[in-house]
Assembly symmetry: C2
Homo-oligomer: 341 residues x 2
């Protein structure tokens, strides 16, 4: 049987591998009969995990690998040396066209570097941005780029805006997604050299719905769908949101526990708080795609559980079904060139 | 009588001017007999506010001004045109040496531009950074630079680190303050071009206690005292902290109100929550100084009340007493040059 989407899954990456990763994969294949999961990793360990569940074995395949890349290793070096790692062999299966997408909860650096080096960029794509969905008051926004490609140029940011729009429209289902550039003031004249040069290019760009600048304080409100910035600033935004949310929640909990009255109240508010904070839980929204590659590469959080793994798999299916890469090449490649994917 | 510190106060700037500004000033002079407040603004309005309180009139002086700069005006143009505004006349009194410090809750841009243009930089200072104290889990950190001088060079960041250290040691009272540079990873090899060039310079710098890189997710933890970054990133960090904290608190409140159980619990946790969130209230920590000028210029929040005004005044007194400017010039000026302040 041929499958709609074949996902290469790094069974060895992340804090909860292979247990939660395999569990998430089984949940995904039990939800969709038209997809196949190709596991990369220690065959014996993967089979031991799989034996715990009921599923259609035809929907799985395992390629045994003998090495693992840890988060402490220098990414470029690790990819070069550990040729039989789950990450390298898995990425190569996408390059070879055997799999449509690759998902890993392993080293971010290795996924970013490996994606670009081993899978390669779509024709016309200058840089492959990492574009996580960040939780907001109203839902989710795409923050593009949070990757390892710092010191971007204006033309890169324009492509990020285009790729981000295509993703939000076709995978997340938002019509004419609003695009804004991160800035330190609302006016066009504000900003650093990069933003000042990029702003008019975004304004001219016909295939996006550019709404202007966004100040960092307005990002959590969720009024904008695609938030464009270069990778250094994007990384700062992503990490600060994570850090501040966890610090504030810790501080609130500690505050409640400081008095008997607070403790009782804390027990009462717990269920509603839990529900609310779920809105701000990144694992609800799948992983961060590395856009503009010849196959989809998705980085999920190192602490990912079965739920995030499953969500990321289903996200990849939507990506494939929506023909995102074809759309990206259509929008970014000059008409005279032939897309060669 | 001569006073230890004379503060020029913009009585017309901010959402609560002149009422809360004048009230804060009266609280400050009633707390310290050795300081004087020089008000700039509409004399009649200031006198009307002052008449509500008991205080030693010798500790006050009013210079009547007829114009005000609003937050909507382009800063450089406003400063040039509105020569009789409270902001321009007040800043000039610092330049003339009549006042030691200037405080305003008015337009950030006008304070930043006016401070540099009208007061002028200390000899040896390349750029005057805006350095707010940001609340953390453990207390406060100095975030330097959050100003309007984007696209900084490595030598600017080194001076920011030095000025920030002097401030934290002498005004806030932290011995050998820990200095870190905002980065997207902990290793020296990480970062954009600016950070990679600056890192070794900070490492070599003998008069600071440089501890390496800090990732944005660790900023709220408060392990570091001086957080060095260029203004664009600093502004993003400052605004995102503001925005995310207010969004999360709003979401938590809404969550509690969504059920009866939550409502009752909410009432019980309110006092402890309020106390805890006070730790994260920037107004507790005075204003943001613009460092490296020939007099201190402090920007306080547009929504400042009497409390923040008073705290900012007392912060200026510490600044003057600690001879920060002399120390900055000592540390930054080559030995052969004479400090000329």
């Amino acid at each position: 049987m041929t499958y709609n989407t074949v996902i290469a899954l790094d069974a060895m990456g992340g804090d909860n591998a292979p247990g939660e990763i395999v569990k998430g994969a089984v949940e995904a294949i039990n939800a969709r009969k038209d997809i196949k999961i190709h596991f990369f990793g220690d065959k014996e360990k993967i089979e031991a995990e799989l034996s715990k569940y009921q599923y259609d074995a035809d929907q799985t395949e395992i390629t045994h690998t003998t090495e693992e890349i840890s988060c402490d290793e220098a990414p470029a070096m690790a990819i070069k040396k550990k040729k039989d790692s789950s990450l390298v062999v898995g990425l190569k299966s996408v390059k070879a066209g055997e799999c449509d997408a690759f998902i890993s909860a392993g080293s971010s650096g290795a996924v970013l570097v490996g994606g670009q080096v081993l899978v390669g960029k779509c024709k016309g794509v200058k840089r492959a941005p990492l574009a996580p969905l960040v939780p907001t008051e109203k839902g989710i926004s795409l923050l593009i780029d949070c990757g390892a490609n710092v010191d971007a140029r204006p033309e890169h940011l324009v492509q990020f805006a285009q790729m981000g729009s295509i993703y939000m429209e076709n995978v997340v289902g938002i019509k004419k997604p609003k695009v804004a550039i991160v800035n330190i003031g609302a006016e066009e004249a504000k900003g650093n050299a990069l933003v000042k040069e990029t702003y008019p290019l975004l304004k001219e760009c016909k295939n996006i719905n550019f709404v202007g600048s966004i100040e960092a304080r307005d990002i959590p409100k969720g009024d904008v769908d695609v938030i464009v910035t270069e990778a250094f600033v994007g990384n700062v935004i992503l990490k600060l949101e994570e850090g501040l949310a966890s610090t504030l929640i810790g501080v609130v909990k500690k505050g409640m526990m400081s008095s008997l009255r607070g403790k009782i109240g804390g027990l009462l508010v717990k269920p509603s708080l839990k529900k609310t904070l779920k809105t701000f839980d990144a694992s609800e929204h799948g992983g961060a795609p590395l856009l503009g590659l010849r196959g989809l590469v998705v980085k999920i959080h190192g602490s990912s559980t079965a739920k995030e793994t499953k969500n990321a798999i289903l996200q990849c299916v939507s990506f494939k079904e929506a023909k995102i890469n074809e759309k990206i090449m259509e929008h970014l490649t000059p008409e005279t060139e032939q897309a060669d994917a």
